[in-house]
Symmetry: C3
Subunit: 259 residues, 3 copies
């Protein structure tokens, strides 16, 4: 049984280590896989984006634990969601909402049964005290209805929308990766439906790109290129360089496509 972890804990403190320790102390047979602990502190949208683009690669039945939790200890709920293929455990702040559009929800539980919590339960670290033990007991086969009562809906995050006006589609950068590649909110299907077989110009920061590459190496060094990336999104990159720095762009930078 695999438990994945996606948090904004960082790797300098002991937060990830003790979360894993609590899980192993309950079920020593699980396989723990880190999706990332490098989410910006309180970066709910960033985590929602990465979860959406990660969860399906895991074995069926994986328990995805997502702890990006700026309102820990407030009245926001803790939830456990069973879908057709996976389980998700997280604070109900929207962090699961993008992933859950892509896998049919079977049941949502509001976690409340403190019989399964670590005691004493702290005011500040429910990742360790609630999410970790719930994931561990779930991995042992405890029925999800033991953890709390069924509820109807979950909170959602709002992502910037793509707008289309006449012959112009306007999106924006929603993520940049370790290499400085700029990932937009324009997906492949949307792009193709808009451009069909017409000529197009992709504009970012007054630079213009006229074609889609199929390899970073197709572009000369220092010249921006556009490519559909492993997120299946339109990405602006520079061959062997950092597009984010080179174009002085980051999250929110507009990317337009003109026909």
């Amino acid at each position: 049984m695999v438990i994945s972890l996606l948090t904004d804990f960082g790797l300098s403190d002991n937060f990830v280590g003790v979360t894993k320790a609590v899980i192993l102390n309950i079920n020593s047979e699980v396989e723990l896989i880190d999706i990332s602990h490098g989410i910006r502190p309180h970066g709910i949208k960033q985590a929602a984006f990465l979860l959406k683009h990660s969860f399906k690669f895991f074995p069926r039945g994986t328990i995805h634990v997502v702890v990006v939790d700026p309102t820990v200890g407030s009245t926001r709920k803790n939830i456990l969601v069973e879908t057709d293929n996976y389980y998700f455990i997280a604070p109900d702040n929207g962090v699961l909402s993008l992933a859950l559009r892509e896998d049919k929800i079977r049941k949502i539980i509001q976690i409340s049964n403190d019989e399964y919590f670590l005691k004493p339960t702290s005011d500040t670290f429910q990742g360790r005290d609630i999410f970790a033990p719930i994931a561990a007991y779930l991995s042992e086969g405890i029925s999800i209805t033991r953890f709390g009562k069924t509820i109807k809906g979950i909170s959602t995050v709002k992502l910037p929308k793509v707008t289309i006006k006449k012959n112009c589609l306007i999106g924006e950068v929603v993520y940049f990766d370790n290499f400085g590649n700029l990932i937009t909110n324009i997906d492949k299907k949307l792009f193709q439906d808009f451009t069909r077989k017409d000529k197009f110009m992709i504009r970012i920061k007054n630079r213009i790109i006229k074609r889609i590459a199929h390899s970073y190496s197709e572009a000369k060094l220092g010249i921006p290129l556009a490519i559909f990336d492993s997120f299946d999104m339109l990405e602006i990159s520079i061959n062997q360089d950092n597009a984010s720095k080179f174009l002085q762009s980051k999250i929110g930078t507009k990317v337009s496509i003109e026909k």
Copy 2:
């Protein structure tokens, strides 16, 4: 069998990877859990603090390997400590001393039997060449007395003490985490014994806090709050912001409580 690792190796080099490789090469059945590798280079006190607040969450019998070792290869000893519930392996520089106050010591071994070392043994990397193989052989059930002779005491670190003068308790920041939360050396019991049910003022950098929160969300954005955190220590935080940056505070900043 779990082996935990806590070091100042960082994650850019191959140091953590080869340490784990050496362990698995001897015992492929162990479960390796990272507490952290983000200790500041040579940060013995920081590691001692994190170990103290981590070791008890692990399954009984876990072997905790701590390698923060500025004096590697000098005359300082390498030690293996058996307590009522765990094993600890580290250089004898105080890094174990805070944890060992909280779990009864049964036996201290000075590691010396090079039959269990990796050969050739380097001058600079005993984590790989000594601590890793000793941990692996220990996990296989080799008796701890095989690794060296029994000794009496261990080195300790000195942490700043809390002082109480009349109606004023003075502590200080001893750690700050990934979120910029400022963790003090004032624990919950000490705080409660001092304030009893009286009114109090917590002062840090000329900001005043008059109550203990039970959730970061209780405070308005941008206003410092005090909370007992997952370390069970008094922590100064800012709701959804970085208190360390906001208050320009770090390790050593005074925190006083006045009645």
Copy 3:
């Protein structure tokens, strides 16, 4: 069965996590060990150096997956190499070449059989879509000849060479680690063959060192020292300080030895 991972993915994105997920989805029995994901983006030489100094510590039969791949999707090959003791999977850009000098090559396969690729295969992330599944299927015992046809040679990286003129040996810094230690391209045997039992002076940035230390602690604080390190290379360090910062040195800084 152990699979090691060495990449320039960093730990902030989900790249490492999904690579592992793909592997576990095919073979849930493997043990995944990170050598490092902190290689500078596109740092082929840095990865080649770390692989050379890591692979032998792993259990025999380990599959080493190295993904530092600036020309992903171009005409460069993907290769699987079987040596006397290990397997290596990587783009053919020289990243394996230093390690493969030290373990006899039995067979080189150009990976081409897309029956074993993840579908749909992206243009930008062969670590997830090709290297990960090939490693997983290999770990399950699939014969390496199933993955593609045998080829003859591999690409190599060129490292700076040591030059010797009269009584002067000139090398340079090729790596610096988390502690700021400066690792040169002068190995122990070369040094000893050159200096024999003569007196010598090691010169870096106009600082002079006249002896080889056997522990960082032998040097006074603030004084540069020379030591043979865990890479078995001549290393310039400062006891409990960061030599890279202190000496304002990094990769390419000359280090000379005069007799």
